[in-house]
């Protein structure tokens, strides 16, 4: 049984608007990431996956507020911790985060080595410039980044190179877990492939022990992560291994989502893409019961009567629906 790097229990966080309304963007989310494994979080825009990433760091700023739940990183419970303490002892060393288009966060007036010095000195003020340079050079070699990048300015790098550099800088202190939020969405396909390869290399070389990969592009998750969690309207609706999630989803939403994947492979032209009518619910007034009920093809009155819990199946598989696996597979067959 591998060590659990990250354990989240019933995490709930909310946004508070100027008019004092609460939007529960992350609604009782629980997940576990083991050492050596990577977990993908799939969902469409607005489902709360980026908010979940921010919340996992334990670094809250208004209008984002922590409501309840636990976040345990390698045995250390960081929920409710003082933000300054989080910054000093957790960020960078235990957990690292790459936001979307992180490559635009580089100060254009500084060389790359400066950022690395910044990160290292924040945790080890006594490190010398030479030590830092040597370490950076070694790490960059390992990850396939040329040494000359260390002495260049961000404007001199291409988009893909910048993103890979930022990823390398963020894991320079070998954190236990890396949270990557759409690390390759803003890049062309070739750079995307390089970024993905780098993330896999990070896991292979043991620089990071586990990874959470957040994206709306399912083929990426299939190729990168071991497990996939599907998120909808702030809740996790399905957890399964990547293969199971893509080829044999149980939850109606996951089924619809996987049915809308288009890849340039033979057979795709004859496939029928699925579409789910409607829009996700407004989280200012979350619906009673199942959040997906209003769009679900198989909805029954009992779906909106009470709140729906996760159903657990063998292995680590689970999904959030009132119906049994047999019932759902039966209705899918009849379609």
């Amino acid at each position: 049984m591998s060590k659990v790097m990250l354990e989240v229990n019933n995490l709930t966080t909310k946004y508070v608007t100027r008019f004092h309304e609460n939007i529960y963007a992350v609604d009782h989310v629980s997940l576990k990431v083991e050492e050596g494994k990577s977990v993908g979080i799939a969902g469409e825009s607005g489902c709360g996956k980026s908010t979940l990433a921010l919340s996992l760091m334990g670094y809250y700023f208004p209008p984002l507020h922590y409501t309840s739940g636990e976040i345990i990183i390698d045995g250390q419970n960081i929920s409710g911790m003082d933000p300054d303490k989080v910054r000093k002892s957790i960020l960078g060393t235990e957990i690292a985060y790459i936001p979307q288009s992180a490559m635009n966060a580089l100060n254009p007036t500084r060389k790359i080595i400066h950022f690395i010095q910044d990160v290292i000195r924040a945790h080890d003020p006594k490190a010398t410039k030479e030590e830092i340079y040597e370490m950076a050079k070694e790490r960059f070699d390992l990850l396939g980044l040329p040494e000359k990048v260390l002495n260049q300015f961000p404007v001199e790098l291409s988009g893909g190179m910048k993103q890979r550099t930022v990823i390398a800088i963020s894991v320079i202190l070998c954190p236990k877990i890396l949270i990557a939020d759409e690390p390759s969405s803003a890049l062309d396909v070739t750079s995307q492939k390089m970024v993905i390869k780098m993330l896999l290399d990070l896991m292979d070389h043991g620089i990071i022990k586990s990874m959470i990969f957040i994206t709306h592009e399912l083929p990426l998750l299939y190729n990168v992560t071991d497990d996939i969690m599907v998120m909808y309207a702030g809740q996790i609706v399905e957890k399964a291994t990547a293969k199971e999630a893509v080829f044999d989803p149980i939850h109606p939403y996951s089924k619809g989502l996987m049915g809308s994947i288009i890849v340039p492979e033979s057979g795709v032209r004859d496939a029928k893409l699925t579409a789910i009518p409607g829009v996700p619910p407004n989280l200012k007034n979350p619906p009673e019961g199942c959040h997906f009920a209003e769009r679900c093809k198989y909805v029954q009155p009992q779906c909106t009567a009470q709140s729906i819990e996760l159903r657990h199946l063998e292995g680590d598989r689970s999904y959030r629906c009132i119906f049994s696996e047999e019932h759902l597979r039966e209705v899918y067959k009849n379609d």
Partner: protein, 273 residues
């Protein structure tokens, strides 16, 4: 499938150059392209490949530096506003971002009313106009009574994009250029938009031209595929041929760089630059 005689739109040697002197940028470099009636084609390229510039040239929104555009066999002439208006009765477009396709200060009704006006329907009675607009909306599964008198910000992204398709339905142009029509739409709603566009082709015989960077989408939806790189047409032909059997190295690389699910996605071919 395609008959050489029914080429609706074609371009030969199309070139567009921006700027002068040292800042010359050749966005489109001597491209030959042709579209047949009722055909669905895709122009695929990454950002900077010139596909959007080519589209705008075909639409007549920007001028052509070199080369000719032929519409229905004859050289295209859009030198006056009147000729342009005539041309645009036959070719229309849908753009990527549904939010910026609307004038935020005007109600959505005006979008449809403008189309009726373009079809010389200004003298129709109010009931006739209402009838036409309702019909167009129901084609895209929208209810006109619910949308009338609303402003664009009151609609969702999917609704706005579908309304754009309703607009095309009203105009019934011979050619429709769709520039990344689903890239800003949720995955679950994508199929709806694509289905509607196909329905448009099936019911009215419109020629569809997709502009996209998503090669999977291009393969799913098109009969012919055109691959562009840095302004140059690299490869073109039947969709099956180009995607499953690419000839040129750029095409091969492009296809292999896209993540797959049934076939193995070979990451070992990544060469670090």
């Amino acid at each position: 499938m395609t008959d050489g005689n029914d080429v609706v739109l074609s371009g030969s040697g199309l070139t567009k150059v921006f700027g002068m002197g040292r800042q010359r940028l050749t966005a489109v470099d001597h491209v030959d392209i042709s579209f047949h009636k009722g055909e669905i084609s895709s122009i695929v390229g990454e950002s900077g490949s010139g596909k959007t510039t080519l589209a705008k040239m075909l639409l007549g929104l920007i001028s052509v530096t070199e080369g000719e555009v032929y519409f229905q066999g004859k050289k295209r002439d859009i030198s006056t506003q009147r000729k342009r208006k005539e041309y645009w009765k036959n070719i229309q477009a849908i753009f990527q971002d549904p939010y910026s396709s609307y004038n935020i200060f005007r109600k959505i009704d005006t979008v449809l009313l403008d189309c009726i006006k373009m079809r010389n329907g200004n003298r129709y009675s109010y009931e006739e106009k209402y009838e036409l607009m309702s019909e167009a909306c129901s084609f895209v599964n929208l209810k006109f009574e619910e949308l009338t008198n609303k402003y664009p910000f009151e609609l969702s992204g999917g609704q706005m994009q579908r309304l754009m398709i309703a607009r095309i339905f009203l105009l019934k142009p011979k050619i429709l250029l769709a520039d990344e029509p689903t890239s800003m739409i949720d995955a679950c709603s994508r199929a709806t938009i694509l289905d509607m566009l196909m329905k448009l082709r099936d019911e009215t015989g419109t020629t569809l031209i997709f502009i996209t960077h998503d090669i999977g989408l291009a393969y799913y939806v098109s009969d012919s595929v055109y691959i562009m790189e840095h302004g140059v047409m690299v490869e073109s032909g039947c969709a099956d041929d180009v995607i499953l059997n690419p000839q040129k190295p750029y095409t091969k690389r492009l296809i292999s760089d896209v993540p797959k699910i049934h076939e193995e996605w070979d990451l070992s071919t990544v060469t670090y630059k």
